[in-house]
């Protein structure tokens, strides 16, 4: 029972990271109907930027901090904001250079362009940190006893940060003028232009926020997991993309719940014993996730949250 509860919490924390990445896929799809294949690689570069910023501040994996202090917390906050901004600006640049010129081209053209950008970003990452695993800083925070379960504090921290970011996004999209403009462009681009909305600017803002969330996700990923490498975002991105499709691509709330559900499945699959599946569930979690992707695409392509919910961006 304790194992199960622990996997539940780990699954929720992992799922929250997937949800943050999935939001970027779903926002971009909602507004220009493009699957941004470079999104996962933006996430990878976010993990590298997090490491770079922390090492500039003297916090490195080789020399990890021994106690938590307010200085360390502010250094972490700086890394989070830095990763957010770096990825956000990168997202805007990619849209400007690789997608906007192809906006009226056949749909296959921007898709191929996106795959191209993905490969370029992977090579940039390889050039920067090499073809090897790069360790994150491990933080000196332990675990707390919650009833029968011994919970790593980091999982709670990950969940809290992710929930704050998602709530902020939801407020932005539903309550502000710019959020209303984003929804308007997603629903009918020409009609939005007729209201005086600068459509290019709003598409840029969407990329800024979507890619920025991947940057924030990269930061919290660096706290929870041991290491990164240049190919990390490609895999994690595909899993997050599955989450976006599960929730209904284009739907924000769908991406949030899709991420959490995928995280839970990923985590709970490890309970399957080796007597049922060869080598146990741990060896199968990616296979299960992508089997789910295929099942959704075949049986319910509009996802769990359908298309008629009002919060599409």
């Amino acid at each position: 029972m304790a194992t199960f509860l622990n996997l539940l919490i780990v699954g929720l924390a992992t799922g929250a990271i997937y949800a943050l990445i999935a939001l970027g896929y779903t926002m971009v799809y909602g507004i220009i109907e493009l699957i941004n294949f470079a999104h996962g690689d933006i996430f990878t570069l976010g993990t590298f930027v997090t490491i770079a910023i922390l090492s500039m501040l003297g916090v490195t994996a080789a020399n990890p901090p021994s106690t938590m202090s307010w200085v360390l917390v502010s250094e972490l906050a700086l890394a989070c904001i830095g990763s957010f901004l770096f990825c956000a600006v990168l997202g805007v640049l990619i849209e400007r250079v690789a997608y906007r010129p192809l906006r009226n081209a056949p749909r296959l053209a921007p898709l191929i362009s996106a795959i191209g950008v993905s490969l370029v970003l992977q090579d940039v990452g390889k050039l920067w940190f090499g073809n090897t695993n790069v360790s994150f800083v491990s933080l000196p925070i332990g675990s707390v006893q919650m009833g029968p379960v011994n919970v790593d504090v980091i999982n709670i921290f990950v969940l809290v940060v992710a929930i704050i970011l998602m709530a902020g996004l939801q407020l932005l999209v539903t309550r502000t003028r710019i959020g209303r403009a984003m929804r308007a462009v997603a629903q009918d681009r020409d009609a939005a232009a007729l209201m005086g909305v600068n459509v290019n600017l709003i598409i840029g803002v969407t990329f800024f926020i979507g890619a920025g969330l991947a940057g924030a996700a990269a930061f919290i990923y660096s706290l929870k997991f041991p290491n990164t490498y240049f190919y990390l975002g490609f895999e994690q991105g595909l899993i997050a993309f599955t989450a976006a499709v599960l929730g209904g691509i284009g739907n924000l709330v769908g991406a949030m719940f899709g991420g959490l559900i995928i995280g839970l499945i990923y985590s709970l699959v490890t309970l399957i014993p080796a007597t049922v599946l060869p080598h146990g569930g741990n060896a199968w979690n990616k296979a299960v996730i992508f089997a789910i992707l295929i099942l959704i695409l075949v049986f319910r392509p509009s996802g769990l949250f359908g298309q008629n919910t009002p919060e599409k961006v």
Partner: protein, 234 residues
């Protein structure tokens, strides 16, 4: 107030608008008649920069607008009620009206105008919180008109406001057009419902396969043989 001179527009290789010239004076209701595919909607799209004129000039309020961004054209005081309404289906009625006032900042003025729009269309006031896409076609048309008025335009263009509506609703829409004209609005109307449009308008133009073939007062057009045969069915 609005003047098109020798405007040409292409969709790929097809020459949709051929040397279109027309004019709308302040305070007028002017209608543009034409069959399907004559180029009526393209005329509207070209005025608003949603399709680009390859040559010719478009003047609004003494400003050249044919190279401007759609948003800037709207800010200069021109509003469009687009064909098929194009309301934001998954937003509430209130949010749709707020989108109409997107270019404006003064909250009190916006609230006052929303009140004014709700006075003209009482149905909208009852439904401010409803998701717009769940309303009937007539209600959606009223919302599209109210949304255009929320930018406080000097002139409104309407693309087939009667399309898909019952005769009774068409009458309501046309009564509203007269009412807002009487309150000082200039209106450019594209219509297939020629008899209703001509009874309402001061002047009219007839568009045939991309060319203006007739231009006269609405009164004269109503008795013109070509118009009677082609558009009034008698």
């Amino acid at each position: 107030m609005l003047r098109l001179v020798d405007v040409n527009t292409y969709y790929g290789p097809s020459h949709v608008l051929q040397n279109i010239s027309l004019e709308v004076e302040k305070g007028e209701i002017v209608c543009l008649l034409g069959a399907n595919a004559a180029g009526k909607t393209t005329t509207m799209k070209t005025i608003f920069g949603l399709a680009r004129a390859s040559s010719g000039t478009i003047n609004f309020n003494d400003q050249q607008i044919e190279r401007k961004l759609t948003g800037d054209i709207v800010k200069s005081g021109l509003a469009l009620v687009p064909e098929a309404r194009r309301i934001f289906q998954r937003m509430t009625v209130r949010e749709n009206l707020e989108m109409g006032a997107y270019t404006r900042a003064n909250k009190q003025e916006i609230a006052a105008d929303m009140n004014y729009v709700c006075e003209i269309f009482p149905r909208l006031r009852e439904r401010l919180k409803q998701i717009a896409g769940t309303m009937s076609g007539g209600e959606q048309q009223m919302l599209a008109m109210g949304r255009a008025m929320m930018s406080r335009p000097k002139m409104i263009c309407m693309d087939e406001p009667s399309m898909g509506l019952s005769p009774k609703l068409v009458e309501t829409v046309f009564d509203t057009i007269l009412r807002i004209r009487d309150e000082g609005m200039t209106i450019f109307l594209v219509e297939q419902n020629a008899s209703m449009a001509l009874n309402l308008a001061d002047r009219g133009y007839v568009l045939q396969t991309g060319k203006i073939v007739l231009s006269d007062t609405a009164k004269n057009l109503l008795t013109n043989d070509l118009v009677r045969q082609a558009y009034l069915g008698s």
